[in-house]
Assembly symmetry: C2
Homo-oligomer: 334 residues x 2
Amino acid sequence: MQSNKMVQGKFWTLRQHFVGFPKETDFELKEEELPDPKDGEVLLEAVFLSVDPYMRPYSRIHMKEGDTMTGAQVSKVVQSRNPNYPVGSHVIVNCGWRTHYLSDGSDLKLVLSDWPEKLPLSLALGTIGMPGLTALYGLEEICEIKAGETILVNAAAGAVGTVVGQIAKIKGCRVVGCAGTDEKVSYLRELGFDQAFNYKTISSLEDALREAAPQGYDCFFENVGGDFTSVALAQMRPFGRIALCGSISMYNDEIPQTGPYINSYMILKQLRMEGFQVTRWEYKHYDGLKRLLAWVKEGKLQCREHITKGFNNMPAAFMAMLNGANIGKAVIKI
Amino acid sequence: MQSNKMVQGKFWTLRQHFVGFPKETDFELKEEELPDPKDGEVLLEAVFLSVDPYMRPYSRIHMKEGDTMTGAQVSKVVQSRNPNYPVGSHVIVNCGWRTHYLSDGSDLKLVLSDWPEKLPLSLALGTIGMPGLTALYGLEEICEIKAGETILVNAAAGAVGTVVGQIAKIKGCRVVGCAGTDEKVSYLRELGFDQAFNYKTISSLEDALREAAPQGYDCFFENVGGDFTSVALAQMRPFGRIALCGSISMYNDEIPQTGPYINSYMILKQLRMEGFQVTRWEYKHYDGLKRLLAWVKEGKLQCREHITKGFNNMPAAFMAMLNGANIGKAVIKI
């Protein structure tokens, strides 16, 4: 199973910290030679890579200039000296924006064993991956949604939002979603959202939210942040729960956005707001992925992807995703 | 037990809605004649009345001009045709700012039966009343404090804050409190707060909070709102809990205060913030009051009151309390 010539890999680094919206020159494409795997090791080749909104704030908080861009991928084992990961098997690995990676196996997860042949493996980065789990935990652990409740989700046509809306429907909730293009809004209706609107073409977010759910919202799955939060909070029902998942409208701000303090709404309606990260429930990821896969197999959970071809296009795909170009999960296919 | 002459009562109304900080002319003192109680009724005479911060936002949300000011009092039964409330017994009743009140008994709560003779009945409006329960529920139900954790409380020398800090100490926490005068800060130290500072004389709230707890805060009992919230949030530890109890710095604003959106902090640290009102746990008030009384009897919970004499001085006492003149609970004694 060993090759005799060195493998040439490519990887993307953060050349310089983003200032405002990322630009091409903030990234640098580099090459490296990877040695043959030693005993216990496997050599991986990327098949699908993920670009996600969190990478923008992550770079500011956790990275220094020159670091490899962070992120997960589905990769194929191309050389193996680890019996748990034979050549040809597919794994999920959080090894950053790179075409090849040498692993000792400790950071690998095999794709679920009952993954259907016909199902694209890229879904392991989306609906049946971290974004899907994020939606699931946000609704179950943070919002604690109950049948009959009304749920609001913004950035609803994104990787997480599409799953949020569909799981809420599976669980018997009424779902209102909003997104930034008419095409996205049509897609939300296709997915079974009860109400959907384009926040860019309405005259008043306050009115649009009120018309979509005159009785108010029990839960709010928040992916956007900024003004949206304070406008939506005013329309929560008593004891409403707000799951803070992301703040895509704020990630590129150099000067933090300001708005009215929310304390009064929170106290008056006895609202609960909680920020969360999917990693909190790592101990039950496996169970969560099985449930997501089952819903997909049953046809209850539709998946849509926005695929960009070519590793060299990763920065462009990342920036397009931050700009909202994608419907569903943004994925790079090698 | 019946008197033959009508009782003359006084009550304070909201003459006009407050604009900004309340002023004397916003209140109007009125008189009324109360008839003798009918069968099942009792006639009450106020002994102690409460002024609390919540009355300011309450007036805006729930009252119209001309309404009687809202609030609780300890009153004495002076005439009775209800065997549950004999003449001479003391009750807690939420009948507003008035000297006399005719009740059918359905809105009365007797002072706890094991209330010690030597303990002022006014405490039933403070440490062994709604403010005490507010502190208790905020810590137990919202913050879910655990021994060894570090708790921050602001407006710490107030009716609620003094109880928050002391209960947190009883439960084995480290407590940091802040208040607006040096005298209050000394009192917090007397009560056993681990750290206390005067937020009006420090040069930087951020630095003062960091120095008081370099490791950060697990819980934050928030009585103040506004800028304090966002500065303090930045110093919460991962999985920190914030109990939003009041926003005294914001109640008199005509234009809502603004500040940086907190979403990023909330997500990064996975913080949970919840607004609450003491009424949520009414079913266990009795149990809560018994526990508070027990701590007072054991000497674990000190009580301090700021007493204003004279029903006619209620508006002045209310305004002084909003201005922070009180250490401990602000009470009016007839």
